[in-house]
């Protein structure tokens, strides 16, 4: 890729926003999954006792 080419900033911006959204989505989905699994485990332990 030629970084001195015309309009290359649009390419960089497209990849940057795509990367940010994909990584953000990945982190959100995984952190929600972990938080819910921990809450469910806690609730099940509470129910047993």
């Amino acid at each position: 890729m030629d970084f001195s080419a015309a309009h290359v900033s649009y390419v960089i911006a497209s990849y940057a926003i795509s990367g940010a959204c994909v990584v953000g989505l990945f982190l959100y989905v995984l952190s929600r999954d972990r938080a819910l699994a921990a809450k469910l485990k806690h609730q099940q332990e509470k129910d047993k006792s």
Binding site: M1, V11, S14, D33
Partner: protein
């Protein structure tokens, strides 16, 4: 198909498959991005700007595909009344919305240098894609605004199924109306119009995005099942007081 719709069996299979899906996704992204940014040539007309295609087109395909999937799951929920089908549609929506948003934003970044404008409201492809994003947001708003899950599911199914009509409008808008957006260049009669030196990277990125969606959807569905179990346990707890 019915046996996989059992939540316990689904979770067991999903937990086995997920590490492999993550690994395949990572490899495909590495190969696809290397192709998109390093080995593929610049376009003879668009120059380096054509590299936006490798993130724009897969995001747009996923935006359309995920909505079709939501329509399918909603139809299955209508016919079989299976709660896992509703959960599958519900958890696909935020993922599809992000892909749809990315298609719009990266399309805008591509449009400015190529068409001389960020956006054109009179353009059928752009406007119908924006309406698709509104359908995604509307579908998610239904689930978030109604507390009773069975009632929310009933309304959400209708929104999902009505929105499928717009997916066809998006797909065929470039054939039906004059548009700034180019016509189909990959899935078309007579084969793809894109040169093989670019096509392989585009298809690799498309499969990478699809695998990413699959992995995120399985995790989201696992979260949704946990959330429903938690809700059920808390209702039992309140009932026992």
């Amino acid at each position: 198909m019915q046996q996989f719709a059992n939540p316990a069996r689904f979770l067991k299979i999903a937990n086995i498959l997920l590490p492999y899906i993550w690994a395949i996704t990572a490899i495909l992204f590495a190969v696809g991005l290397y192709g998109a940014l390093v080995t593929t040539p610049p376009d003879y007309q668009q120059g380096e700007t054509v590299r936006i295609m490798y993130v724009h087109v897969p995001a747009a395909w996923l935006g359309l595909f995920v909505y079709c999937l939501m329509g399918f799951f909603s139809a299955v929920a209508f016919i079989y009344r299976h709660p896992l089908a509703d959960a599958a549609a519900k958890t696909a929506a935020p993922l599809g919305a992000v892909f749809c948003f990315l298609a719009l934003v990266t399309g805008s970044f591509w449009g400015k240098p190529m068409w001389g404008t960020w956006w054109a409201w009179g353009d059928a492809r752009l406007t119908s894609m924006f309406i698709l994003l509104l359908f995604y947001l509307g579908y998610m708003a239904v689930w978030n605004s109604i507390d009773e899950p069975t009632r929310a599911a009933a309304i959400a199914r209708i929104v999902a199924l009505v929105g499928v009509v717009n997916v066809f409008v998006v797909k065929f808008s470039v054939n039906w109306w004059n548009s700034l957006h180019q016509g189909p260049s990959v899935i078309k009669m007579g084969g793809p119009a894109i040169d093989k030196s670019m096509l392989w990277a585009l298809l690799t990125m498309a499969v990478a995005y699809t695998m990413l969606f699959l992995a995120l959807h399985l995790v989201s569905l696992r979260s949704e099942i946990a959330s429903r179990k938690l809700r059920q346990a808390r209702l039992v707890e309140i009932g026992n007081r």
